[in-house]
């Protein structure tokens, strides 16, 4: 074993506290160290994940008190899978923004990389923790770094987007805290496994109310329908790579928290229908809004919300196949959406108002970046032979198994809508006449950005041609999520007590 899951949180925090000191020694270190840390985290997470798949779930206790009393970290096939994706995407985002033009100034770069690293670490924390209050703390850390990153550029309307995000974020955090209070008052514990084991002792009425507050609390991170008003603005106003980090990392953590709560914590008949309804509303509203957007990043943001709605619909089927499809969608979205954000950020780098019409003709000036953007667009709208196709297909098969005609039609229509609005951009990129008035000079991408984009494109193509390479992992993860009993056993019965 190379390390313990606790290092996934402890090392980034240590590095974050260390970076101001290192910056005094050599200024370049503030840029390099976060990358090293994120690379280490990716390595650690991947190694642990392979361990977990081959043997058993790792339950790491903290401060020597086992599960119901202390805080524990659960590194299971599901959480390991998600944390590996997140740390990897964090590394890619770091690589992309390593020499990002506006970050060259020392003070700004220092803060930017601290926020980015803590954003990744706290999102991993949301996923691997086994304690609801600890999850709340990590959600707040994610939130504050996200607010700071959203307001990072002083020139734009970013403060406004960040303020909006902050108000919604703290309201939802309050709701989450109320849910925690209800659960703690009734069951006297904060541990997820203990709650899941004792949930039957709780009055159904209180269970439902606590669940509603939980959904409100996590909904902001997970971008579900009434609570996603912040998302388009934050994605638009934040620095380009940060939009990618939100879509690839933070939202995944939010979705995870939500499904963990639904599947494991609250064992009520019917939550799955709630998920389907929420997901469908989110999906329809977001995709129709994406159709009307005239700014590239805003369109991508709505598309991201829509994808999350689709993920929720797939989770809401509640079957093994549905969960599998949802995880596949999450994997694809975690890779493709950041790629779109990163390449899109290059495309519109020098435009003034970030409108789609301003990038006309970029396909000829920046062919490689544009090609990668097109690849991402095709993949996310689910065209074969790219990876997005397989995930949409698995959603369709899962729905077909359950005879959910409505969902099948919806998914097909949504795919059509997605194709329409992505082709609008592709059309602008390649097939519109070069117009001197609105066209701008291209921004020359750095080597680091190109490496990041190529790695992502390679992964998409690889998954597209060999989908069977990931389905095994996804299957294990899906089984892990479905098996509540196993989770409780793993966490609560460590065998011998390690209390002295």
């Amino acid at each position: 074993m190379v390390g313990s899951p606790v290092f996934l949180i402890a090392i980034p925090l240590l590095a974050a506290f260390l970076i101001p000191l290192l910056g005094m020694v050599w200024k370049e270190l503030v840029r390099i160290v976060p990358g090293l840390v994120l690379a280490y985290l990716t390595f650690l997470s991947a190694t642990l994940y392979i361990d977990v798949i081959n043997s058993d779930t790792i339950v790491e206790t903290i401060a020597g008190w086992r599960a119901p009393w202390g805080i524990d970290l659960v590194f299971s096939p599901l959480t390991g899978f998600l944390s590996t994706i997140m740390t990897f995407m964090g590394f890619i985002v770091w690589l992309y923004s390593y020499r990002f033009k506006r970050n060259v100034e020392f003070e700004a770069a220092k803060k930017y990389f601290i926020f980015l690293m803590l954003l990744v670490a706290a999102s991993v924390g949301i996923v691997i923790t086994g304690d609801i209050f600890n999850q709340f703390v990590f959600i707040e850390i994610t939130g504050i770094s996200a607010y700071a990153l959203t307001a990072f550029y002083t020139g734009r309307n970013s403060a406004e987007a960040a303020f909006k995000y902050l108000v919604m974020g703290s309201l939802s955090a309050s709701a989450l805290l109320i849910a925690i209070i209800i659960v703690y008052a009734q069951l006297g514990t904060l541990n997820m496994a203990e709650i899941a084991a004792n949930i039957d002792n709780m009055n159904v009425e209180y269970r439902i109310i606590a669940m509603i507050f939980f959904i409100i609390g996590i909904g902001v991170e997970a971008e579900i329908f009434p609570l996603n008003g912040w998302a388009p603005d934050a994605y638009t106003e934040a620095p380009g790579p940060v939009g990618g980090a939100f879509a690839g990392i933070v939202v995944k953590a939010g979705i995870y928290a939500m499904v963990r709560m639904m599947f494991t914590l609250f064992n009520i008949s019917g939550p799955m229908q709630i998920l389907i309804i929420i997901g469908m509303i989110t999906l329809i509203i977001a995709e129709t809004s994406a159709l009307r957007q005239d700014k590239l990043k805003r369109m991508l943001a709505y598309s991201s919300i829509g994808q999350m709605g689709l993920v929720l619909v797939a989770f809401g089927m509640g079957t093994q196949a549905g969960v599998f499809a949802a995880l596949f969608l999450m994997l694809n979205h975690a890779i493709i959406k950041p790629m779109l954000f990163l390449s899109g950020s290059y495309l519109e780098f020098n435009t003034k108002n970030k409108y789609i019409k301003e990038i006309t003709g970029m396909g000829k000036k920046m062919p490689v970046v544009s090609a990668i953007f097109v690849l991402g667009a095709l993949a996310i709208s689910g065209l074969p032979p790219f990876s997005g196709f397989w995930s949409k297909l698995s959603v369709l098969t899962a729905a077909a198994d359950e005879n959910m005609i409505l969902i099948i039609t919806l998914v097909l229509i949504i795919s059509l809508v997605e194709i329409v609005y992505y082709f609008r951009v592709i059309n602008r990129l390649f097939f519109f006449d070069y117009d001197l008035e609105i066209s701008v000079e291209p921004h020359k991408p750095g080597w680091n950005g190109m490496v990041a984009l190529f790695v992502l494109a390679g992964i998409i193509l690889f998954i597209g041609f060999y989908p069977s390479s990931v389905t095994g992992f996804l299957d294990l993860a899906a089984r892990d999520l479905m098996d509540t009993h196993d989770y409780i056993n793993n966490v609560l019965q460590l065998g011998q007590s390690i209390i002295q």
Partner: protein
């Protein structure tokens, strides 16, 4: 119109809260003991920490505290980042008129006392109410008093950030030392002493003192940043 919708929403929301918390059932059905008894017992028998809340904050749920310290660290950093200006100069505060001699000498008189009080609060965190956060806040407020009373009182941002970093590193290092010695992060690996002694509780007082230094440095930096910001 909008207000009516809001009030309707609030009514629904309040109804949900009321049927939960004001219901006598809520009290009757709850599981009173839960983890509480275990904490109270173990605090005395194993950790030898008089203040159970401190034991929970630093040891049982020490991971939360690590996150909490990170939140403050992030808030201080975010404040610097959000209020960042292109030409970054910490200009003079536009003090229109200096504080009177009474406030000045009073501040001078009371500042060491406040600092001492803060130190007392976080050193005795495991015996009496209070601890790192409270003590750190008190010290930071003392610095604020000096900043208000004297226009030329200044604190080096570098020293603050060094203290902050060292304290944070110390916290995580103690956690990792626990990992090396006992097998789990933040585990207590020192002798626990006798209940109600100053030197009891193993690593708990040490960690709380580190937290105190960190919080004091962070909040002082935060106040300093906001105070020198002229809108």
């Amino acid at each position: 119109m909008k207000k009516a919708i809001v009030i309707l929403m609030l009514a629904v929301f309040g109804y949900f809260l009321a049927i939960t918390f004001l219901d006598p059932q809520f009290e009757a059905e709850r599981n009173r003991d839960g983890v509480k008894k275990f904490y109270l017992d173990k605090t005395v028998s194993e950790l030898k920490t008089a203040n159970t809340v401190t034991a929970i904050v630093v040891n049982f749920r020490g991971f939360d505290t690590l996150g909490e310290v990170t939140v403050l660290f992030l808030a201080a950093t975010a404040l610097g980042s959000i209020l960042f200006k292109k030409r970054h100069h910490i200009g003079d505060r536009t003090v229109l008129l200096p504080a009177s001699a009474i406030v000045g000498s009073g501040a001078k008189l009371i500042f060491p006392a406040i600092t001492l009080l803060g130190v007392y609060v976080f050193v005795h965190g495991h015996l009496t109410p209070g601890g790192g956060f409270q003590g750190g806040t008190i010290i930071a407020t003392g610095f604020l008093l000096m900043l208000i009373a004297y226009r030329d009182f200044s604190i080096s941002h570098n020293i603050l950030s060094v203290i902050e970093s060292l304290a944070g590193i110390g916290f995580v290092t103690f956690g990792l030392l626990g990992f090396m010695n006992g097998g789990t992060f933040l585990q207590n690996f020192l002798g626990t002493g006798v209940l109600n002694d100053l030197l009891s509780g193993g690593v708990i007082p040490i960690i709380y003192i580190l937290v105190g230094f960190k919080v004091a440095a962070e909040l002082t930096g935060l106040i300093y940043t906001v105070l020198h910001e002229k809108g």
